[in-house]
Subunit: 307 residues, 2 copies
């Protein structure tokens, strides 16, 4: 029976998994990422270690990698943190392991992982939106990744939802990410605390210790906190409705740190989306939270070969 390897190349760690053809997890392992060409060496070490641990016939290696990835050519176009530029990572891994290899970016890999094995497994069309330091995600249509020309599409975080609005990490203004990332939520929470010296949030937090959880924690008892949560959900809903109107997946899965709020996030979002999305009675869009956590990327990487 065929086995599949998925590796997720992150800033500090390469996570690896072995799945069987039915998607059952056979092994998890990891290795330090390193930088530059060393990354390929470390990835091959991890892959060989996993093949030794789980014997069988391997169908290939899928790779999820941070940065701008050209999946068609199998190369890392640019990944600043990893010190890679125009680096044929998939080709090198394929040569060194003797296995077919495919690569996509880490956000797309996570989307495919959740789509095939996580919160999206009952649907053919799903979108993952990760609410972390930034807003990332990926689009799966008919069970396959939709990446856009040269894999540059699905940059969901850099869809403008407020023309001329808040400054985004990308240099433009008003991007979805500038409102719906954990970073934006924390910034807004700090601002609300400073605006309101009587806020109960000050009982436990200072503007140094505030996190993406703070406002949710006090939302039921403190007006300032409740306003932050309302603000956050309002903009997040706006971005999700845009995704619904343009892509119309059957499900949008929320990942990343803020998605830990679960029903406190999904319940109000679902209500707004049902009310405001075009033809939502006819083609509803379910809002849910991702289930694979930080393993989603490795799962999705393995799924790249399962076509």
């Amino acid at each position: 029976m065929s086995l599949y390897i998925g590796i997720d190349v992150g800033g500090t760690t390469i996570k690896g998994i072995v799945l069987d053809v039915g998607g059952k997890l056979c092994l998890e392992d990891s290795i330090v990422t390193g930088a530059g060409e060393e990354i390929a060496v470390n990835a091959v070490t991890l892959i060989n270690r996993m093949r030794n641990a789980v014997k069988g016939e391997y169908a290939g290696v899928g790779i999820g990698c941070a940065g701008a990835i050209d999946s068609e050519n199998g190369s890392v176009v640019f990944a600043g943190n990893l010190k890679l530029k125009n680096f044929p990572l998939a080709k090198i891994i394929s040569e060194k392991t003797g296995l077919p290899a495919k690569i996509t970016n880490d956000a797309n890999a996570a989307a495919l992982g959740e789509a095939r094995f996580g919160a999206g497994k009952e649907y053919t069309d799903s979108v993952l939106v990760t609410l972390g330091t930034g807003v990332g995600g990926g689009i799966v249509i008919g069970g396959k990744l939709f990446e856009g020309n040269k894999s540059v599409g699905a940059e969901l975080g850099h869809m403008v939802i407020e023309f001329g609005g808040n400054k985004c990490s990308c240099g433009r203004r008003g991007c979805f990410e500038a409102y719906s990332s954990a970073t934006a939520l924390i910034k807004r929470t700090k601002w609300a605390m400073e605006e309101d010296p009587g806020s109960e949030m000050w009982n436990t937090y200072t503007s140094e210790t505030v996190s993406g959880k703070t406002a949710f924690e006090y939302a039921e008892t403190d007006i300032a906190a409740s306003e932050v949560v309302d603000w956050y959900i309002k903009y997040l809903a706006c971005g999700l409705i845009n995704i619904a109107n343009v892509i119309r997946p059957q499900v949008i899965m929320l990942g990343g740190g803020v998605s830990g709020q679960r029903e406190r996030l999904t319940a109000p979002l679902q209500a707004i989306i049902d009310r405001e999305t075009f033809a939502s009675h006819f083609a509803p869009v379910k809002i849910t939270t991702a289930t694979l956590g930080s393993s989603a990327g490795a799962y999705g990487a393995a799924a790249l070969l399962m076509d």
Copy 2:
């Protein structure tokens, strides 16, 4: 050699064309649309007339139709102007003509027409954005229509680009359509004329006779007109960059009345898109104008059968 019929069911007229397998136009014809069930009768009359005029082996009939269309089930879910609701138009046409029939909405049909036979024919991934009474359009990926679940996706005009902004015809605020339709352009032009009684636009127009062309006509000599054009292009660029970042087609084709401005629109838009779109040097998005005009829908309808 196989022949293909495409019909485009609009508010007043059903346009029909016959294409050969290479996409060559063999015949154009039209008939009054009518309303309700009568539409199917008229469509069949038109189809039979075209088959009598151009003899040959017909592979099928493609239908583009205004309204909400469920292409999978071949039915018109709702089309207010046509007085149709849950009407199996494709099935009826197929039964009455003995030919296979497929249906999609008119905006998607136009996008497919431009993609296969018009401004997008050299590309595999294209998006059509029509700047008319509203903002419509469609998405073609790998040469095929991308419609979203139950054909409800690709509602490009109802992507919010300014949270809480201008009122849209859909009832929400800040939609792309509320800034980039001809309707929005005319509204802004009127506003600018009323703000500036010295505007040269008053030389020829009143607030009753102003059109989507007025501001462009005076943009080189009148500040108020020039500001309207800048405003319009700025928001239009914002919407197109969103499409580029989410879908990343190789080309975005502009159709509808305002696209008649051609280079006056595409030149400044291309400059902004090249500058502001994520990774545009690596995966550029060409901005151009559509070439098939009001025949695009019938061409695209015929192409529905050419898979």
